[in-house]
Symmetry: C2
Subunit: 312 residues, 2 copies
């Protein structure tokens, strides 16, 4: 029996192996993804994002615990683009897993590769596909930070929760980074702190424009992962958003948009791979550089020449 067969029978060790295989883009990873893809579409995907230090992991763990009590199977992907630790941050994952009340129905995977840029976003989406295919009811994706990678990842989930804290610099950061635009639900965590009510009021005011003419009200939920309040309400709002998407045509529209992005992304990856192969093989980049260094050409002209010759 192959690893993939065992995976399809629900073996968790094979799940971890398949993820590693795909994360590292080993041989035939595209074929594996293609095969798994036909089994996807059943998981509900919830993203948690926001500036660092907002207590996202704690919120995610409490939400996961909540769903676990309702006998849901949950996959968690924790993405930290700024961390130098790669692939399996295994110890951290195990500590978190041990804290969750039901270990059988939960699976955590940390992903972090410094400098992989767009690659990390597509790898995260691929892992989403794997978890969906494995049969998790819910996939929770949490990201650390406020960059392009985070925005790209959030593009692949159904409900986006932006986690903020009562310090207002945080909101400005979030606005700058475009998180306000992608949020479906705002979670104002650490709301036991001073200034939380004022911040919630400010947020609500800012959301007036976004709410105007929309059927969804973009709720602001005050939580404290530490003191344990607000998590029920957050979970209810996630449900409400899921229902809202289903009741309108928006669920299908979102998923279709995601498929679009995926096709486009994989085509990009494919092309860039091809460039790498060609530039390493028949084309010797060194000769091109010589020519440019000698003032006989320039990078723009050379790029056009290569493009015309090999890709037109």
């Amino acid at each position: 029996m192959t690893v993939l067969d065992r995976f399809l029978k629900g073996d968790r060790r094979s799940l971890a192996k398949v993820i590693t295989h795909i994360e590292n883009r080993r041989d035939l990873y595209r074929e594996v993804l293609a095969r798994l893809y036909t089994r996807t579409g059943k998981s509900y995907k919830i993203g948690f994002t926001g500036p660092p230090g907002g207590g996202k992991s704690s919120v995610v763990d409490l939400i996961a615990d909540h769903f676990l009590k309702h006998d849901k199977k949950i996959g968690i992907i924790a993405v930290d683009p700024s961390s130098p630790f790669s692939g399996g941050a295994l110890l951290g994952d195990r500590i978190r897993m041990a804290k969750l009340s039901n270990q059988e129905n939960v699976f955590i995977r940390s992903m972090a590769t410094r400098g992989s840029g767009g690659g990390l976003a597509s790898a995260s989406k691929d892992v989403c596909v794997v978890l969906d295919a494995f049969g998790f009811d819910l996939v929770l994706v949490e990201t650390v930070g406020v960059g392009q990678v985070e925005l790209d990842i959030m593009d692949a989930v159904d409900t986006v929760v932006v986690v903020l804290v009562p310090e207002s610099g945080d909101t400005i950061q979030a606005m700058k980074a475009g998180l306000m635009e992608i949020a479906d639900i705002f979670c104002l965590n650490k709301s036991d702190r001073e200034g939380a009510d004022r911040m919630a009021a400010e947020l609500n005011m800012m959301l007036d424009v976004k709410r105007h003419g929309s059927d969804w009200e973009y709720p602001v939920i005050q939580t404290s992962a530490l003191k344990g309040f607000g998590i029920d309400e957050l979970q209810e709002q996630i449900h409400a958003h899921h229902k809202y998407l289903k009741d309108t045509s928006r669920f299908e529209k979102r998923r279709r948009r995601q498929v679009r992005v995926e096709v486009y992304q994989h085509l990009q990856d494919r092309l860039l791979e091809e460039v790498n192969t060609r530039l390493g093989g028949e084309l010797t980049l060194d000769e091109i550089v010589d020519e440019i260094a000698a003032g006989e050409s320039d990078p723009f002209t050379k790029a056009t020449e290569i493009f015309d010759k090999y890709f037109r």
Copy 2:
């Protein structure tokens, strides 16, 4: 006389126009870049990067002032990937310019486009080409933040100055982001603050490995842009690094590597443009999505099909 002719005669208004043209990737921008490229290679490019709040702009302004007093012409590019303000953050640029002692020989351009990701890095490099071609002796590139965009941009300069502050969390951030690896010179700004000496000692200890077996000593300079100390020494070390690169074969090697990256980058851009054109035209992405939504195919297979048909 065309804008480009006036540019080549040293007209500053035309310089701003050419930058805008290239930044917005208007018609024939590649041809313009190709023409300008043959006039480049004379500017020395210095990058300043590091976590937000380190006082990078102040350090850059003081360094610029220093070079201006030596009758150098200086172009400054300030890149903030997290800012939503696009293209010409003109007011801020003018305020900074007014503060610099010699306005005639200095030109500042802010670049910030939320969500443009890799696009911002290549746009910044293109602006470097324009400033070099215009005849600036020095191009100072400052970036805000610690992400992939910053690393990509720093790849295109000759000397990388990483600006830190005495708070040690900062160093960890910098290490995580890979800034320690790309740094040639460390500037420990705000060194009038408590803890600066300890932090400098820590940094020096961490640099032991990097220094071992290298001819360059990766100096740590304590500065205070506020109190005005250390800037002379920083400037001397920038000179020393320039001399070091020139005296060894490293200068040419770096520049060759930059050319490589440029060719590769432009080829990537070209290919992605082509994908956009084809996916908008002869290929209707909607039909592809229909097929996938119906469970008849998947994004990976579809990407491969498009690739094989149009780009093989």
